[in-house]
Symmetry: C2
Subunit: 285 residues, 2 copies
Amino acid sequence: MPELRVIREPREMRFHAEDLRRDGRRIVLVPTMGYLHPGHLSLLQAGRSRGDVLVLSIFVNPIQFGPKEDLARYPRNLQGDLAMARGASVDVAFVPDERAMYPTTPLTRVVVSGLTEGMCGARRPGHFEGVATVVTKLFNLVQPHVAVFGEKDFQQLAVIRKMTRDLDLGVEIVGSPIVREHDGLAMSSRNAYLEPDERLQAVSLSRGLAVAEKRFNGGERGAAPLLAAVTDELAASPLARLDYAELRDAETLEAVERVERPAVLGVAAFLGKTRLIDNRVLSPQ
Amino acid sequence: MPELRVIREPREMRFHAEDLRRDGRRIVLVPTMGYLHPGHLSLLQAGRSRGDVLVLSIFVNPIQFGPKEDLARYPRNLQGDLAMARGASVDVAFVPDERAMYPTTPLTRVVVSGLTEGMCGARRPGHFEGVATVVTKLFNLVQPHVAVFGEKDFQQLAVIRKMTRDLDLGVEIVGSPIVREHDGLAMSSRNAYLEPDERLQAVSLSRGLAVAEKRFNGGERGAAPLLAAVTDELAASPLARLDYAELRDAETLEAVERVERPAVLGVAAFLGKTRLIDNRVLSPQ
């Protein structure tokens, strides 16, 4: 097995990246908050073939959590993560701590408007600013040619694509498909929070999306009946509480009333205190 | 004379910068809006000794101008600028047009809070967002090791220093002293707007700062008498209209009542429609 290099200091990461670039190596970054699961492994696998040096970053970024969110209890398991990284042929694990990433009070934010107005952006004020800011920092430190993000965080992926273009970050952004449990639940580090009964009912998100997709494949194009498939499924699960279900243009993320171009059906729901998201892209032929 | 390479396309600039970095060359960037004067030449001279490849960028950045500001009439003279660049041993002139820098509607802004609340930030809403955003783009395209900015734009320099640190841009920021006309007027491309009688009275900004400095050197530490030196001088010039005079901590840019650490005395005034700025740093021993 190739050796995994673990880097904790941003300065060391930058120097290493500069060395790699001077040597003409192609760098691929998979940014994560750790507590790796098979969804992350699929990102690493997608990244592995796209360059010479595969960098996994693990950083639970405080500035993307709201004051009432789950920063303090977010699950962590660095030793387990590093073992999985070795298994996935990761070359470099960049694992900075909070003091290293924010040594002085940060005053700078990267703000992406428009795309962040609905869906999670409307429910989590400041979240995407925190994401865009830390991803900009990670890109500057790791200097990747390619970065891989999961499509489960569909809005995040759209925000990062736009930011990368707007700021000329020079990174190719790759989206990687959602990985699901056997019953359809989208994999997420936050699934670890679920009590057994919540876990059973958490499948209502993906089941609602599947019903909507079936209606779509049967010819339905209207937002209301497609969204009703999702909300009805959640309403039938007493432990689930809808946060939002929205149908939006897959590129601009503007709300759509009828699917005429690819659209994303996004859903967020609470199971107890745990907030889960899922989505499905509906593409007319 | 070494040959000047003129690059118009951001993509070509990026590829050239990547080549230079792979060759281990040290890149220095002097970002400007063109219409070069001896103040710019001093920036180029400061930059020349700090690296192997001296890049001058010329771009009148629309997103840093307010709707009622002077974007349309901002002076331009590309051929003259390129001649001066050759004389200053510039290696690369990066001269993108607006369509190249903003090919799609930009939704992303780099926002620096705190430092932008007073002085020009308070008078020109959105200005420093526009500056921070375009400088981030230029840094990503030119990939400099060092960038040189004039101290005349003192607040801009502070914003760029903080942004560079916060976003891990990895660029060393160098400030270069104000260059003045014989009578003391700080050099600026906007001086070209001045009518002869306005030009004569424009010296009131630097003269007021000089009087304040004399009082400071005589032991005065209070904001009110130091600021009065500036406002009295402007009041005595009928064509000048004060925009602001402020005394602020030279690092945090917080307003100060007494100078106990280095402070900046900043002034902005209109001569007719032309807005000029100037400043002086007051450092107690």
